[in-house]
Symmetry: C2
Subunit: 325 residues, 2 copies
């Protein structure tokens, strides 16, 4: 994402995000050469910085103190990136957004340790906020993320789980850290309890919608825009919302179930499974559910005073829903 | 280690270590069944609990508040265990102390996430101390540990490193967390600056000696007592102090250098490399260096007031030096 796009998307806090970039840059400056090389690789791609933006936006509702908010935004972005580094090891992924993963450039062993170093750096960074409660919530968010990831791995190819289970998992895997971004930002800005809760709820629900859209894009996305072919989730046995909606209404014997229960030739069976989902109403129903979470997120906002940041948060919800990559 | 042995070794704090056991036990109580199973496996073996004991012993020099000291001791033990879990993934180790490793029972992917969950739990646990500085030092200790491990991996089979480099590495890999145990305990007990520094130095130097003894035992240890065959380090290309002392004085052409530069039949060449080191004066010189660190540790203690804990710390240094497993 270019700075101009960030500026359009993040409004009043877009310029301050450069401070997060600077702090992220400083993380790369370690003495040990092989570690420095790996950190540069892992931190090179300029992501959307959505989570740091949420931290800063939430912070505008109280005492907007960048000395506290920027370390939190940076810590959360680091935590997010570290978790992707480990996820790619866990999944044996060779590329992400069109770039080779750390585990494919270096090796699994070194990449596990790279992720550990990034987790530790993120933990040190969050203590720079000066807030023990925010530090504690940060650790809890990581516990939830890891539990969600573990569950995804442990439940792979298991068609016995339902939508409730899926929502619980993505709540941990993705929404917890979004919720911590806005909650943490609000806590550091010394917002009132009701502001903190409204912003936490906004972040959490935006995170739920974000993950559902991600899971939809894995069925409908364009390889060029996404930087990866469609169907990756299904291929790993991760049964996401579109597949669950499809399985709910499809006949017992269907291409998705056949795909998931087959032990071989999965790659060949994938296109049929994907198009079965895409041609059903599962995508539409998933979009409707993402919209529901967006509605909940906006509900949380309704009690907060109007401001440029308030308008930006509203517009962000539209972006989360309509994004194509 | 049995409770009776702990009692003899840890004197006045031995009984309070049961509170660390209880808190560790509580960590296993998670809802997600596969995670619970993995945590039970990883936390089952009753380790020496040397680090938690150091936390408590250091705490006796000030305000001995178990509500703060026990969470730190537990967090440090968790961090230590989590790092072993990841090290075993990194090394592809199949057993540790005679038990199958987590990565050999479950798989690498799930074990990476298990370690992450344990790191996150340790981070949450350390915030229960109520001290942001101790939490920050905890994160810094993990950064050092990971850097040391990374270096060990990156420098494998490289005979171009010297003893200075080795000491730097084990300082990060092992001694940092020992130092944090006594420093953190002293900080939580609100000791004076000079007490904190004396105790930190004691912990750090004990940690250095501990790792050197570990590295000696990898050459001289009894498989029955150690739960693993000798020579594991060399086989992984980890060049520790005994090997470095040996290489320093051996002729250019020697069995250790030949072993390290060979690409094949390493397992067959190992016994000769091991016995070359054991029959040289390298073990003795390594023991002398461990003794030097013990002396430095005791020097730190000399400024502290006499007490049962003070005596225990003195005796512990003897144990660290003479232990056989």
């Amino acid at each position: 994402m270019t700075q101009a796009q960030q500026s359009a998307l993040y409004g009043p806090v877009a310029e301050d995000l450069i401070l997060v970039e600077d702090l992220l840059e400083s993380v790369k400056r370690v003495e040990l050469a092989p570690l420095r090389l790996m950190l540069e690789h892992a931190l090179e791609p300029r992501g959307k910085r959505l989570r740091p933006a949420l931290v800063l936006l939430a912070g505008t509702f109280g005492d907007y103190n960048l000395n506290r908010l920027v370390p939190l935004g940076t810590a959360i972005e680091l935590l997010h990136t570290a978790s992707l580094v480990h996820d790619d090891v866990v999944d044996g992924a060779e590329s992400r957004r069109g770039r080779p993963t750390a585990n494919s450039v270096f090796d699994n062993a070194l990449t596990v340790l790279l992720g550990d170093f990034m987790f530790a750096t993120a933990a040190e960074m969050v203590t720079r906020t000066g807030s023990l409660p925010v530090t504690r919530l940060f650790a809890l968010a990581l516990m939830k993320m890891t539990t969600g990831e573990l569950d995804q791995d442990a439940a792979a190819f298991d068609v016995g789980r339902d939508i409730q289970h899926y929502l619980w998992r993505i709540g941990g895997k993705t929404a917890a850290l979004f919720g911590h971004s806005t909650q943490g930002g609000a806590l550091l800005a010394e917002c009132t309890d009701s502001q903190v809760e409204a912003l936490r709820s906004y972040g959490y629900n935006i995170g739920m919608a974000f993950q559902i859209v991600d899971d939809i894009l894995d069925f409908t996305g364009d390889e060029g825009e996404m930087g990866k072919p469609a169907g990756g989730d299904l291929l790993e046995g991760t049964i996401t919302l579109p597949a669950l909606f499809y399985l709910e209404s499809a006949p017992q014997r269907n291409p998705v179930r056949q795909f998931l229960s087959s032990d071989q030739q999965r790659a060949e069976m994938l296109p049929e499974a994907l198009s079965a989902v895409v041609q059903s109403d599962a995508i539409q129903r998933s979009q409707a559910m993402a919209q529901e979470f967006i509605d909940r997120a906006l509900e949380g906002l309704s009690g907060l005073e109007e401001s440029p940041a308030h308008r930006t948060l509203k517009e962000l919800s539209g972006y989360v829903l309509s994004r194509r990559s």
